[in-house]
Symmetry: C2
Subunit: 175 residues, 2 copies
DNA sequence: CGGCACTTCCAGAAAGTATCGAAACTCATG
DNA sequence: CATGAGTTTCGATACTTTCTGGAAGTGCCG
C-alpha cells in the first residue's frame, strides 16, 4: 500500500485519517485494511467502486472486494447502484449514531452472546458440584455472567433507542 | 499447548472456560494466551506462580512471563508475595466491576484518547479550508470526534463511580 | 450464442505475531 | 564472592492472518 506525496492539505488530512484509523482498528479487533476501507468511505462523498478503493489504498482487487463485502456484512456499508453504470458502488453509513448502533448490535451478536453461552454452559456443568473449589468457580463465573448479561442488555436497549432520546439523557447525567 | 483428558467435571469446566475465553479474546484485540492466563487466574483461588501458569497452559516460561507481566501492566493481575517463598505469585482482581473499570480506563487511555487526538489533528489541519469537499470532510470528522468524546467521558464517569451507584441506576433504566 | 464488464473465489505468497528455548541477568544467602 | 533459585531478555522458528493475482463465475446485451 503506497502513498503519494501531495501538497493538498485536504488530501493529506484524508490520507492521514484513513491510514491512522486503520492502525487504530487493529487494537479493536478489526483488520487494518477493513478499518481503512471503512474510514475511506466514511469521508468520501460520492460512492466508490471497488477500483476506486483499490486505487486509493493501493490494495489488490481480491482484498478490496473481500473487505467491502465484509463491511456490507456488518451493515456499515451499502452497495449502491449508480444510474447507467453497471459496476457496483459502495457508500458508508455516515450517521455516527446509526453506525454505533450497528456496531453494537453486531458485536453483541457475534461476540457477547457466544461469551454468555460459554459462561452458561460452564455454569450448567458445575451446577451440582458441592466441593468448595467448585462453589468458588461457580460463583466467580456467575458474577461474570451476570455482568456480561447486563452489558448485553444495555447495548440492546441503547441501540434500539433513538439518538435523540439517549444522547440528551447521557449528557444530562454527565452534567 | 496441550490438554490432558480428565474425568473431573470441575477440571473440565475450568479447562473449557480458560480455553474458550482465550479464543474469544482474539475478537476483542487481546492475544489468546493473555486472555487464557487472565481467565486462569480469574478462576483460581490461591495465587499461581509462573511455573503453575506454564504447567496449566502448557506455555513456555518466556511466554508465561511476558503475558503475566502485561496483565500486571493492565492492572488486571497483581504480584503477591507468599510468606517464606522466594518465587513470585500472581493473582487476578476477582471483582468483576473493578475489573471492568480497570479495562475501561486502560482502553480509554491506550485507544480512545489516541483516536481523539488523531481526529483533533485532522480537524485542525482542515479548519481553514473553504472548499465544499473540505467542509464535508470536516463536518464528518467533527461528528465522529464529538461522539468519541462523549463515549470517552461516559467511560470516565462510569469507571470513576461506585458499582453500587451505577448498577442500580442502570437496572432501573433497563426496567 | 459470444463478447464484455464486472464480481467472486481460491491457492500460494507475504507479512505479522506469538512462542520457544536458552542464555544473561539479579540478588539474597551461605 | 560464589552459588543457585528465580526472573527477564532475545534471536530463531512456527503459526496465523492477511494479501495477491489470476482463474472461474455471472449475467447483461447485441
Amino acid at each position: 500500500m503506497n502513498q503519494e506525496p501531495t501538497s493538498d492539505p485536504l488530501e493529506d488530512a484524508r490520507q492521514t485519517f484513513v491510514r491512522s484509523w486503520g492502525a487504530l482498528g487493529s487494537s479493536w479487533g478489526v483488520s487494518r485494511t477493513m478499518a481503512m476501507v471503512h474510514a475511506l468511505l466514511l469521508v468520501t462523498d460520492p460512492p466508490l467502486s471497488t477500483d476506486d478503493v483499490m486505487a486509493e489504498l493501493g490494495a489488490s482487487r481480491g482484498n478490496a472486494n473481500m473487505n467491502l463485502r465484509e463491511l456490507v456484512g456488518w451493515g456499515l456499508v451499502r452497495r449502491v447502484v449508480v444510474e447507467g453504470e453497471r459496476r457496483e458502488y459502495f457508500e458508508a453509513e455516515k450517521d455516527v449514531w446509526t453506525m454505533f448502533c450497528t456496531i453494537a448490535r453486531e458485536r453483541k451478536r457475534r461476540e457477547i452472546e457466544p461469551a454468555l453461552a460459554l459462561l452458561e454452559a460452564c455454569l450448567a456443568t458445575t451446577k451440582g458440584l458441592r466441593s468448595g473449589k467448585a462453589k468458588a468457580f461457580h460463583k466467580q463465573l456467575s458474577e461474570l455472567a451476570q455482568f456480561v448479561g447486563t452489558a448485553n442488555a444495555v447495548l440492546e436497549r441503547i441501540s434500539a433507542s433513538e439518538q435523540s432520546k439517549v444522547i440528551p439523557a447521557i449528557l444530562k447525567w454527565l452534567k
